[in-house]
Symmetry: C2
């Protein structure tokens, strides 16, 4: 069964912002921004997340807000970013968010103790 | 007592997005974007919100994420948008969000039944 997705004109900005307003969901979107479809398992591996059940909730939030598309494939779901829809509806938003996340990373790296190097 | 505000470099994008990811908070930010300081009472009036206690929570979310500044003045707090900080840290983000909210309004107006006019 294909899960429910909002059409492009049903997407609302407060739902998109709320969906992106979580570190793990934002990280998932950053991975998906590379393009193409990811299965949940590979995405969890990239994110370093082991709690698959928690992520089921996060995928739903991202899907119901219109940020990602979930496509059933065998026993899995394939996930992709709805970049075209988001860019058409909210020009510049996703780019500003992704650039902002990078900016935070830079600041976090500058303030965190450097990892020991061998 | 002046409530706690994050410094500009302590602001994090997921907190900003989460703070903006609520209709009433986003509406408040849209009002504050006109500039200057608003007291809570006048802002509630503009927003058509009567539940002052609920809004206390919303002001805190907006303040702690770095979106607004709260300045005590007598028995009230004056609220203002931290646009300079947000624009410096996340260029284009706030403009994309506010433009997006306008876009939603246009779509909502187009799909809602027209109010009776006399």
């Amino acid at each position: 069964m294909t899960p429910r997705h909002p059409d492009r004109d049903q997407i609302r900005i407060e739902s998109v912002l709320s969906a992106l307003g979580s570190r793990v969901r934002l990280d998932a979107v950053r991975v998906l921004d590379a393009g193409g479809e990811h299965n949940c398992g590979s995405l969890l591996g990239i994110l370093g997340v082991t709690a698959k059940s928690t992520m089921t909730h996060h995928w739903r939030v991202l899907r119901e807000s219109g940020v990602i598309r979930q496509r059933p494939s065998g026993r899995e779901n394939l996930l992709s970013l709805r970049r075209e829809d988001l860019d058409a509806r909210y020009p510049g938003l996703l780019d500003a968010v992704l650039t902002g996340a990078l900016r935070d990373d830079t600041d976090d790296a500058a303030t965190s103790p450097a990892p020991a190097r061998r």
